[in-house]
Symmetry: C2
Subunit: 201 residues, 2 copies
Amino acid sequence: MAAPALDFWFDFASTYSYPAAMRIRAMASAARVEVRFRPFLLGPIFAAQGWTTSPFNLFAAKGRNMWRDLERICADLALPFRRPEPFPQSSLLVARVALVGLHDAWGEDFCRAVYRAEFAHGQRIDDPETIRAILSDLNVDPADALAAAHESDTKERLRSETAEAQRIGIFGAPSFTTADGELFWGNDRLESALAWANRAL
Amino acid sequence: MAAPALDFWFDFASTYSYPAAMRIRAMASAARVEVRFRPFLLGPIFAAQGWTTSPFNLFAAKGRNMWRDLERICADLALPFRRPEPFPQSSLLVARVALVGLHDAWGEDFCRAVYRAEFAHGQRIDDPETIRAILSDLNVDPADALAAAHESDTKERLRSETAEAQRIGIFGAPSFTTADGELFWGNDRLESALAWANRAL
Protein backbone atom coordinates (compact mmCIF):
# COMPACT_ATOMS: atom_id res chain seq x y z
CA MET A 1 0.00 0.00 0.00
CA ALA A 2 1.31 3.45 -0.90
CA ALA A 3 2.23 5.82 1.93
CA PRO A 4 0.02 8.90 2.30
CA ALA A 5 1.49 11.74 0.28
CA LEU A 6 2.04 15.43 0.90
CA ASP A 7 3.49 18.01 -1.46
CA PHE A 8 5.65 20.67 0.22
CA TRP A 9 5.64 23.87 -1.81
CA PHE A 10 8.24 26.48 -0.94
CA ASP A 11 10.14 29.48 -2.22
CA PHE A 12 13.73 29.91 -1.08
CA ALA A 13 13.10 33.60 -0.34
CA SER A 14 10.13 32.78 1.93
CA THR A 15 10.81 33.33 5.60
CA TYR A 16 8.38 30.84 7.14
CA SER A 17 9.56 28.22 4.65
CA TYR A 18 12.84 28.11 6.61
CA PRO A 19 11.47 26.41 9.78
CA ALA A 20 9.15 24.29 7.62
CA ALA A 21 12.02 23.03 5.45
CA MET A 22 14.17 22.28 8.47
CA ARG A 23 11.57 20.20 10.30
CA ILE A 24 9.40 18.57 7.63
CA ARG A 25 11.60 15.54 6.86
CA ALA A 26 11.73 14.25 10.45
CA MET A 27 8.07 15.00 11.10
CA ALA A 28 6.94 13.31 7.90
CA SER A 29 9.02 10.23 8.69
CA ALA A 30 7.48 10.02 12.16
CA ALA A 31 4.00 10.38 10.63
CA ARG A 32 4.86 7.89 7.85
CA VAL A 33 3.90 10.43 5.21
CA GLU A 34 5.71 10.58 1.87
CA VAL A 35 6.78 14.19 1.30
CA ARG A 36 7.66 15.65 -2.08
CA PHE A 37 9.75 18.87 -2.10
CA ARG A 38 8.38 21.27 -4.73
CA PRO A 39 10.28 24.55 -5.05
CA PHE A 40 8.48 27.27 -6.97
CA LEU A 41 8.59 31.05 -7.36
CA LEU A 42 6.24 33.29 -5.41
CA GLY A 43 7.28 36.35 -7.44
CA PRO A 44 4.99 35.74 -10.45
CA ILE A 45 2.10 34.87 -8.11
CA PHE A 46 2.58 38.07 -6.09
CA ALA A 47 2.97 40.06 -9.31
CA ALA A 48 -0.38 38.71 -10.56
CA GLN A 49 -2.08 40.44 -7.63
CA GLY A 50 -0.16 43.65 -8.12
CA TRP A 51 2.65 43.18 -5.58
CA THR A 52 6.16 43.99 -6.73
CA THR A 53 7.89 42.77 -3.57
CA SER A 54 7.12 40.69 -0.48
CA PRO A 55 3.90 41.65 1.36
CA PHE A 56 6.15 41.85 4.45
CA ASN A 57 7.87 44.82 2.81
CA LEU A 58 4.63 46.32 1.49
CA PHE A 59 2.81 46.19 4.84
CA ALA A 60 5.17 47.51 7.52
CA ALA A 61 3.36 46.40 10.70
CA LYS A 62 2.87 42.91 9.28
CA GLY A 63 6.53 42.76 8.32
CA ARG A 64 7.74 43.87 11.76
CA ASN A 65 5.60 41.21 13.41
CA MET A 66 6.80 38.52 11.00
CA TRP A 67 10.48 39.09 11.81
CA ARG A 68 9.82 38.96 15.55
CA ASP A 69 7.51 35.97 15.20
CA LEU A 70 10.07 34.08 13.12
CA GLU A 71 12.73 34.86 15.71
CA ARG A 72 10.50 33.42 18.46
CA ILE A 73 9.67 30.33 16.36
CA CYS A 74 13.33 29.64 15.57
CA ALA A 75 14.24 30.06 19.26
CA ASP A 76 11.56 27.49 20.19
CA LEU A 77 12.92 25.08 17.58
CA ALA A 78 16.56 25.80 18.53
CA LEU A 79 17.21 26.91 14.94
CA PRO A 80 19.81 29.64 14.46
CA PHE A 81 18.28 32.75 12.96
CA ARG A 82 19.64 35.86 11.30
CA ARG A 83 17.59 38.29 9.27
CA PRO A 84 18.66 38.13 5.61
CA GLU A 85 19.85 41.36 4.03
CA PRO A 86 18.56 42.28 1.55
CA PHE A 87 15.10 40.74 1.82
CA PRO A 88 13.80 39.15 -0.30
CA GLN A 89 16.65 37.75 -2.39
CA SER A 90 16.14 36.31 -5.83
CA SER A 91 15.43 32.60 -5.51
CA LEU A 92 15.48 31.92 -9.25
CA LEU A 93 18.89 30.27 -9.54
CA VAL A 94 18.72 28.24 -6.30
CA ALA A 95 15.25 26.99 -7.26
CA ARG A 96 16.59 25.77 -10.61
CA VAL A 97 19.55 24.05 -8.94
CA ALA A 98 17.17 22.49 -6.41
CA LEU A 99 15.08 21.01 -9.24
CA VAL A 100 18.23 19.44 -10.66
CA GLY A 101 19.12 18.03 -7.24
CA LEU A 102 15.64 16.75 -6.49
CA HIS A 103 15.86 14.78 -9.74
CA ASP A 104 19.09 13.36 -8.31
CA ALA A 105 19.78 12.29 -4.70
CA TRP A 106 21.08 15.55 -3.23
CA GLY A 107 18.03 17.80 -3.62
CA GLU A 108 16.68 17.89 -0.08
CA ASP A 109 20.11 18.35 1.49
CA PHE A 110 20.71 21.20 -0.94
CA CYS A 111 17.40 22.84 0.04
CA ARG A 112 18.21 22.70 3.74
CA ALA A 113 21.73 24.02 3.12
CA VAL A 114 20.34 26.98 1.14
CA TYR A 115 17.94 27.86 3.97
CA ARG A 116 20.78 27.61 6.49
CA ALA A 117 23.02 29.83 4.35
CA GLU A 118 20.26 32.44 4.08
CA PHE A 119 18.66 32.43 7.53
CA ALA A 120 21.42 31.15 9.80
CA HIS A 121 24.61 32.45 8.20
CA GLY A 122 23.43 35.63 6.49
CA GLN A 123 24.76 34.62 3.07
CA ARG A 124 23.42 35.80 -0.28
CA ILE A 125 21.57 32.92 -1.92
CA ASP A 126 21.47 34.83 -5.20
CA ASP A 127 25.28 34.73 -5.32
CA PRO A 128 26.56 31.82 -7.46
CA GLU A 129 29.55 31.57 -5.09
CA THR A 130 27.23 30.65 -2.21
CA ILE A 131 25.61 28.00 -4.38
CA ARG A 132 28.97 26.59 -5.50
CA ALA A 133 30.15 26.32 -1.90
CA ILE A 134 26.97 24.50 -0.86
CA LEU A 135 27.28 22.06 -3.78
CA SER A 136 30.93 21.36 -2.98
CA ASP A 137 30.03 20.62 0.63
CA LEU A 138 27.52 18.07 -0.67
CA ASN A 139 30.16 16.51 -2.93
CA VAL A 140 28.28 17.62 -6.01
CA ASP A 141 30.25 19.09 -8.90
CA PRO A 142 29.23 22.77 -8.97
CA ALA A 143 29.99 23.22 -12.68
CA ASP A 144 27.83 20.23 -13.66
CA ALA A 145 24.93 21.22 -11.40
CA LEU A 146 24.95 24.85 -12.51
CA ALA A 147 25.15 23.82 -16.17
CA ALA A 148 22.11 21.58 -15.67
CA ALA A 149 20.33 24.41 -13.84
CA HIS A 150 20.79 26.64 -16.88
CA GLU A 151 19.39 24.12 -19.36
CA SER A 152 16.14 25.21 -20.94
CA ASP A 153 14.46 22.03 -19.75
CA THR A 154 15.16 22.98 -16.11
CA LYS A 155 13.97 26.56 -16.64
CA GLU A 156 10.78 25.25 -18.19
CA ARG A 157 10.22 22.87 -15.29
CA LEU A 158 10.42 25.72 -12.78
CA ARG A 159 7.99 27.78 -14.84
CA SER A 160 5.55 24.90 -15.03
CA GLU A 161 5.83 24.15 -11.29
CA THR A 162 5.05 27.81 -10.56
CA ALA A 163 2.10 27.72 -12.96
CA GLU A 164 0.86 24.53 -11.29
CA ALA A 165 1.14 26.15 -7.84
CA GLN A 166 -0.92 29.08 -9.03
CA ARG A 167 -3.44 26.79 -10.73
CA ILE A 168 -4.14 24.86 -7.52
CA GLY A 169 -4.67 28.05 -5.54
CA ILE A 170 -1.31 28.54 -3.82
CA PHE A 171 -0.79 32.18 -2.83
CA GLY A 172 2.02 31.96 -0.26
CA ALA A 173 4.75 29.71 1.09
CA PRO A 174 5.19 27.30 2.61
CA SER A 175 2.08 25.47 1.43
CA PHE A 176 1.20 21.82 1.73
CA THR A 177 -1.18 19.96 -0.58
CA THR A 178 -2.68 16.51 -0.20
CA ALA A 179 -3.63 13.96 -2.84
CA ASP A 180 -7.32 14.65 -2.16
CA GLY A 181 -7.01 18.35 -2.89
CA GLU A 182 -6.59 20.04 0.51
CA LEU A 183 -4.37 23.10 0.68
CA PHE A 184 -2.69 24.11 3.94
CA TRP A 185 -0.81 27.40 4.06
CA GLY A 186 1.95 28.27 6.50
CA ASN A 187 4.60 26.64 8.65
CA ASP A 188 2.02 26.60 11.44
CA ARG A 189 -0.21 24.27 9.39
CA LEU A 190 2.43 21.55 8.89
CA GLU A 191 1.08 19.41 11.74
CA SER A 192 -2.49 19.67 10.42
CA ALA A 193 -1.38 18.87 6.87
CA LEU A 194 0.45 15.72 8.00
CA ALA A 195 -2.57 14.65 10.06
CA TRP A 196 -4.86 15.24 7.08
CA ALA A 197 -2.59 13.27 4.72
CA ASN A 198 -2.72 10.35 7.13
CA ARG A 199 -6.46 10.61 7.60
CA ALA A 200 -7.07 10.77 3.84
CA LEU A 201 -5.43 7.39 3.29
CA MET B 1 1.49 38.26 43.19
CA ALA B 2 -0.40 39.39 40.10
CA ALA B 3 -1.34 36.75 37.52
CA PRO B 4 0.45 37.01 34.17
CA ALA B 5 -1.63 39.12 31.82
CA LEU B 6 -2.59 38.88 28.18
CA ASP B 7 -4.67 41.30 26.12
CA PHE B 8 -6.94 39.67 23.55
CA TRP B 9 -7.62 42.06 20.66
CA PHE B 10 -10.42 41.14 18.29
CA ASP B 11 -12.85 42.49 15.74
CA PHE B 12 -16.30 40.92 15.60
CA ALA B 13 -16.09 40.72 11.80
CA SER B 14 -12.79 38.81 11.95
CA THR B 15 -13.09 35.17 10.99
CA TYR B 16 -10.19 33.68 12.93
CA SER B 17 -11.29 35.66 16.00
CA TYR B 18 -14.25 33.28 16.25
CA PRO B 19 -12.30 30.15 17.32
CA ALA B 20 -9.99 32.34 19.43
CA ALA B 21 -12.89 33.92 21.31
CA MET B 22 -14.55 30.57 21.91
CA ARG B 23 -11.48 28.89 23.38
CA ILE B 24 -9.44 31.62 25.09
CA ARG B 25 -11.27 31.72 28.43
CA ALA B 26 -10.81 28.03 29.23
CA MET B 27 -7.24 27.98 27.97
CA ALA B 28 -6.28 31.08 29.92
CA SER B 29 -7.79 29.66 33.09
CA ALA B 30 -5.85 26.43 32.65
CA ALA B 31 -2.66 28.46 32.08
CA ARG B 32 -3.50 30.79 35.01
CA VAL B 33 -3.23 33.79 32.73
CA GLU B 34 -5.43 36.84 33.26
CA VAL B 35 -7.05 37.69 29.92
CA ARG B 36 -8.52 41.07 29.04
CA PHE B 37 -11.00 41.18 26.12
CA ARG B 38 -10.28 44.23 23.96
CA PRO B 39 -12.65 44.67 20.98
CA PHE B 40 -11.48 47.15 18.35
CA LEU B 41 -12.15 47.95 14.71
CA LEU B 42 -9.92 46.60 11.95
CA GLY B 43 -11.60 48.81 9.34
CA PRO B 44 -9.63 52.00 10.07
CA ILE B 45 -6.38 50.01 10.26
CA PHE B 46 -7.05 48.32 6.92
CA ALA B 47 -8.09 51.68 5.43
CA ALA B 48 -4.77 53.20 6.52
CA GLN B 49 -2.96 50.76 4.21
CA GLY B 50 -5.35 51.35 1.34
CA TRP B 51 -7.75 48.43 1.81
CA THR B 52 -11.46 49.16 1.60
CA THR B 53 -12.61 45.66 2.58
CA SER B 54 -11.20 42.50 4.12
CA PRO B 55 -7.96 41.24 2.54
CA PHE B 56 -9.82 37.93 2.20
CA ASN B 57 -12.11 39.65 -0.30
CA LEU B 58 -9.29 41.56 -1.98
CA PHE B 59 -7.08 38.50 -2.53
CA ALA B 60 -9.26 35.70 -3.90
CA ALA B 61 -6.95 32.69 -3.47
CA LYS B 62 -6.17 33.73 0.10
CA GLY B 63 -9.86 34.16 0.84
CA ARG B 64 -10.78 30.75 -0.57
CA ASN B 65 -8.12 29.10 1.56
CA MET B 66 -9.22 31.00 4.68
CA TRP B 67 -12.82 29.74 4.45
CA ARG B 68 -11.69 26.16 3.99
CA ASP B 69 -9.05 26.46 6.71
CA LEU B 70 -11.56 27.95 9.16
CA GLU B 71 -13.99 25.12 8.37
CA ARG B 72 -11.27 22.56 9.16
CA ILE B 73 -10.28 24.37 12.37
CA CYS B 74 -13.86 24.56 13.60
CA ALA B 75 -14.38 20.87 12.81
CA ASP B 76 -11.29 20.02 14.88
CA LEU B 77 -12.61 22.11 17.78
CA ALA B 78 -16.18 20.76 17.40
CA LEU B 79 -17.39 24.34 16.85
CA PRO B 80 -20.37 24.77 14.53
CA PHE B 81 -19.48 26.83 11.48
CA ARG B 82 -21.44 28.63 8.81
CA ARG B 83 -20.00 31.18 6.44
CA PRO B 84 -21.47 34.63 7.20
CA GLU B 85 -23.28 36.40 4.39
CA PRO B 86 -22.42 39.11 3.68
CA PHE B 87 -18.77 39.17 4.71
CA PRO B 88 -17.55 41.24 6.42
CA GLN B 89 -20.41 42.74 8.41
CA SER B 90 -20.10 46.02 10.24
CA SER B 91 -18.88 45.37 13.75
CA LEU B 92 -19.29 48.96 14.92
CA LEU B 93 -22.43 48.58 17.00
CA VAL B 94 -21.61 45.19 18.55
CA ALA B 95 -18.16 46.47 19.48
CA ARG B 96 -19.69 49.43 21.29
CA VAL B 97 -22.16 47.18 23.12
CA ALA B 98 -19.31 44.83 24.03
CA LEU B 99 -17.39 47.73 25.61
CA VAL B 100 -20.45 48.51 27.73
CA GLY B 101 -20.72 44.86 28.77
CA LEU B 102 -17.02 44.46 29.51
CA HIS B 103 -17.36 47.39 31.90
CA ASP B 104 -20.17 45.38 33.50
CA ALA B 105 -20.27 41.62 34.17
CA TRP B 106 -21.81 40.36 30.92
CA GLY B 107 -19.17 41.42 28.39
CA GLU B 108 -17.43 38.13 27.66
CA ASP B 109 -20.69 36.18 27.41
CA PHE B 110 -21.95 38.82 25.00
CA CYS B 111 -18.81 38.50 22.87
CA ARG B 112 -19.14 34.74 22.60
CA ALA B 113 -22.85 35.01 21.80
CA VAL B 114 -22.12 37.50 18.99
CA TYR B 115 -19.55 35.14 17.45
CA ARG B 116 -22.01 32.24 17.70
CA ALA B 117 -24.77 34.30 16.08
CA GLU B 118 -22.46 35.26 13.22
CA PHE B 119 -20.46 32.09 12.56
CA ALA B 120 -22.71 29.32 13.86
CA HIS B 121 -26.23 30.62 13.17
CA GLY B 122 -25.71 32.82 10.12
CA GLN B 123 -27.29 35.89 11.74
CA ARG B 124 -26.53 39.51 10.87
CA ILE B 125 -24.51 41.03 13.70
CA ASP B 126 -25.07 44.51 12.23
CA ASP B 127 -28.81 44.09 12.82
CA PRO B 128 -29.95 45.66 16.12
CA GLU B 129 -32.56 42.90 16.41
CA THR B 130 -29.81 40.28 16.64
CA ILE B 131 -28.12 42.33 19.35
CA ARG B 132 -31.35 42.81 21.30
CA ALA B 133 -32.05 39.07 21.22
CA ILE B 134 -28.56 38.28 22.49
CA LEU B 135 -28.86 40.80 25.31
CA SER B 136 -32.27 39.45 26.35
CA ASP B 137 -30.84 35.93 26.48
CA LEU B 138 -28.18 37.27 28.86
CA ASN B 139 -30.84 38.93 31.04
CA VAL B 140 -29.50 42.35 30.10
CA ASP B 141 -32.00 45.10 29.28
CA PRO B 142 -31.50 45.73 25.54
CA ALA B 143 -32.75 49.34 25.68
CA ASP B 144 -30.35 50.26 28.50
CA ALA B 145 -27.38 48.54 26.88
CA LEU B 146 -28.01 50.05 23.45
CA ALA B 147 -28.51 53.51 24.97
CA ALA B 148 -25.16 53.17 26.76
CA ALA B 149 -23.57 51.95 23.51
CA HIS B 150 -24.67 55.13 21.77
CA GLU B 151 -23.25 57.46 24.41
CA SER B 152 -20.40 59.59 23.17
CA ASP B 153 -18.17 58.27 25.93
CA THR B 154 -18.56 54.71 24.59
CA LYS B 155 -17.94 55.81 21.01
CA GLU B 156 -14.81 57.62 22.11
CA ARG B 157 -13.59 54.57 24.01
CA LEU B 158 -13.87 52.41 20.89
CA ARG B 159 -12.01 55.01 18.86
CA SER B 160 -9.24 55.18 21.42
CA GLU B 161 -8.97 51.37 21.69
CA THR B 162 -8.61 51.20 17.91
CA ALA B 163 -6.00 53.95 17.96
CA GLU B 164 -4.13 52.09 20.71
CA ALA B 165 -4.22 48.86 18.69
CA GLN B 166 -2.73 50.65 15.71
CA ARG B 167 -0.13 52.39 17.89
CA ILE B 168 1.19 49.12 19.28
CA GLY B 169 1.51 47.60 15.80
CA ILE B 170 -1.65 45.52 15.51
CA PHE B 171 -2.55 44.89 11.86
CA GLY B 172 -4.97 41.97 12.07
CA ALA B 173 -7.18 40.00 14.42
CA PRO B 174 -7.12 38.16 16.65
CA SER B 175 -3.96 39.52 18.24
CA PHE B 176 -2.54 38.92 21.68
CA THR B 177 -0.21 41.30 23.52
CA THR B 178 1.77 40.73 26.69
CA ALA B 179 2.74 43.15 29.43
CA ASP B 180 6.36 43.06 28.23
CA GLY B 181 5.44 44.16 24.72
CA GLU B 182 5.22 40.99 22.65
CA LEU B 183 2.62 40.88 19.87
CA PHE B 184 1.23 37.57 18.65
CA TRP B 185 -1.05 37.55 15.62
CA GLY B 186 -3.57 34.88 14.79
CA ASN B 187 -5.71 32.22 16.43
CA ASP B 188 -2.83 29.81 15.77
CA ARG B 189 -0.57 31.86 18.07
CA LEU B 190 -2.84 31.68 21.12
CA GLU B 191 -0.89 28.82 22.69
CA SER B 192 2.43 30.64 22.18
CA ALA B 193 1.01 33.87 23.58
CA LEU B 194 -0.21 32.15 26.74
CA ALA B 195 3.14 30.41 27.16
CA TRP B 196 4.95 33.72 26.72
CA ALA B 197 2.70 35.49 29.24
CA ASN B 198 3.55 32.80 31.78
CA ARG B 199 7.24 32.88 31.00
CA ALA B 200 7.35 36.66 31.28
CA LEU B 201 6.14 36.59 34.86
